[in-house]
Amino acid sequence: MTVVEKILAKATGQKSVKAGDVLEPSVDVAMSHENAALVINQFNEVYQGTGIEPKVWNPDKIAIIFDHRVPAESSKTATNQKKIRDFVGANNIKRFHDIRSDEGGICHQILAEYGYIRPGFVVVGTDSHTTTHGAFGSFAFGIGATEMATVWTLGKVLNVEVPETIKVIVNGKFSSNVYPKDLILHLIGKISAQGANFKVLEFHGEVIKNMPMSGRLVLSNMAVEAGATAGIIPGDDETAFYLKEHGVTEKIEYVTPDADANYCQVVEINVDDLVPMLACPHTVDNVKPVTSFKGKHVDQIVIGSCTNGRIDDLEIAANILNGKKVAHGTRMLIFPASWNIYKDAMKKGYLETFASAGAVIMNPGCGCCLGVHQGALGDGEVALSTTNRNFKGRMGNPKAEVYLCSPAVAATSAISGEITEPAKGEL
């Protein structure tokens, strides 16, 4: 069996399952953000007319994190947030992360750094980038609000077809200016935005084995941009190490695929010759080397998000920007993925480096990533961003262009004000 088959067999109490089976797996973690407002609405509707008191199946398995619009950008959002806060209190949901600098951040970063995920878990979230948690060897996938209302009611997902798995084997060695972000952009470009539709990507190979959790989170996070239901990296010592560092004391069991597991496709990548990449407007699979847009003027540079807003991303950017200035005519926005990262970056002096360079440091949250508040683009403007989506309108303006890249490309380009490849060996 593949990893996802093993996880689903366990979650349904069966010896074995195979791709195509339809199951109702029980859920270990159910995550929502501000769209919990809609989940609450649908949840109450499920109970309507039944005479049964609405009650979540297990408050300890539900996590709710405010991140999409923090602090609230409108009275409507604030009212939604208030409604959620009341629900959280009434249902005794403890994994609630409010708009606070001692517990807040982007939902996917919070699940990771608070140690909520284990290898072998079934994780659902009302957010498509819930795939992020496949980095811990869990089966983690995005669902809609109504489906989450079902999970809150019954503790399971009612309609899961066991997905086929694509095995991705990554070998070789990254050049010093190439990062996991370049690898995942390359893979998405190679198999297309729908190349893994309804399937799971399972990552293997020496590059993955040697990759720290921060990089693995980037790969799993963006698996959905190839259409994948999930992007799984089987658990190993790095998984256990990361969880231990983040306060998990129990022994970590891994779920690994059988030697004779059935894969629908195998994709092999050697990263020896991989160069820094860009996802160009307006699809994530429109991937080209950074050099092909060399010299293109950039109006807004963004470093942050659940993809590349972690401490090592900020470290890369700070090392490049140290003692330098963001070019005039270009603005730079930085939003760390969580408040713990923000405070770590403050201690390490990165925030000072950014502020001295002229970058604007925003509070952790989704900020401009999805174009809801802060950092919108003007008509005809060009953004270069470490986020994960460049769809038309994504940063709040359908008449603007968004290019996606690694933090190194973003920081290097901030200094020149133009799309620029980071030099090798300097970092």
Binding site: I143, T150, N159, Q194, N197, P398
Partner: protein
């Protein structure tokens, strides 16, 4: 009968169907106003009723890719839209079924704007051109949610049955 009001290409994202900046609006009764908000003319003709309820939109591959926002399904549901595509992205497909939006997977579909379509069993009939195209049926488990009238009544029944036991 459903008239084709718009044709889309590949990879139409949920940001295109329902832009992120309107995501604070969540209730199915309120989402239709922002349907295809960045396609100004389409949005206005939907809102004004110039395009009748129950009209059809037709797309190529991977319709509904991207975010899991359920507003993308409920906004189309508000216009009782018939959505035909060569194939759909997973979360959008599931959300649509959950909220009772009529999605038809039809890999060979050929239409022009203004054509009149009719669903006939396992085929889409283009009444304007006289051609008909095979529909790929939903997997059984999804069909049972459609038959129940959406995921809410489906879940409600399981809930009620479980408390009876």
């Amino acid at each position: 009968m459903a008239k084709v009001i718009y044709k889309f290409g590949d990879d139409i994202s949920t940001d295109a169907i329902y832009p992120g900046r309107y995501m604070a609006t969540v209730l199915p009764t309120e989402t239709p106003q922002f349907c295809f908000a960045d396609y100004t003319e389409l949005n206005e003709k939907l809102k004004s009723g110039e395009y009748a309820k129950g009209s059809a939109i037709v797309a190529d591959n991977n319709f509904g890719c991207g975010s899991s926002r359920e507003q993308a399904a409920s906004t189309l549901r508000g216009y009782e839209m018939l959505v035909i595509a060569k194939n759909f992205a997973r979360i959008f497909l599931q959300n649509s079924i959950n909220v009772g939006l009529n999605l038809i997977t039809c890999p060979d579909i050929e239409v022009n704007i203004g054509d009149e379509l009719e669903l006939k069993g396992d085929k889409v009939l283009n009444k304007t051109t006289g051609k008909s195209f095979e529909i790929i049926p939903l997997p059984k488990a999804r069909q049972s949610i459609v038959d129940a009238g959406g995921l809410i009544p489906y879940t409600r029944k399981i809930l009620v049955d479980s408390t009876k036991k």
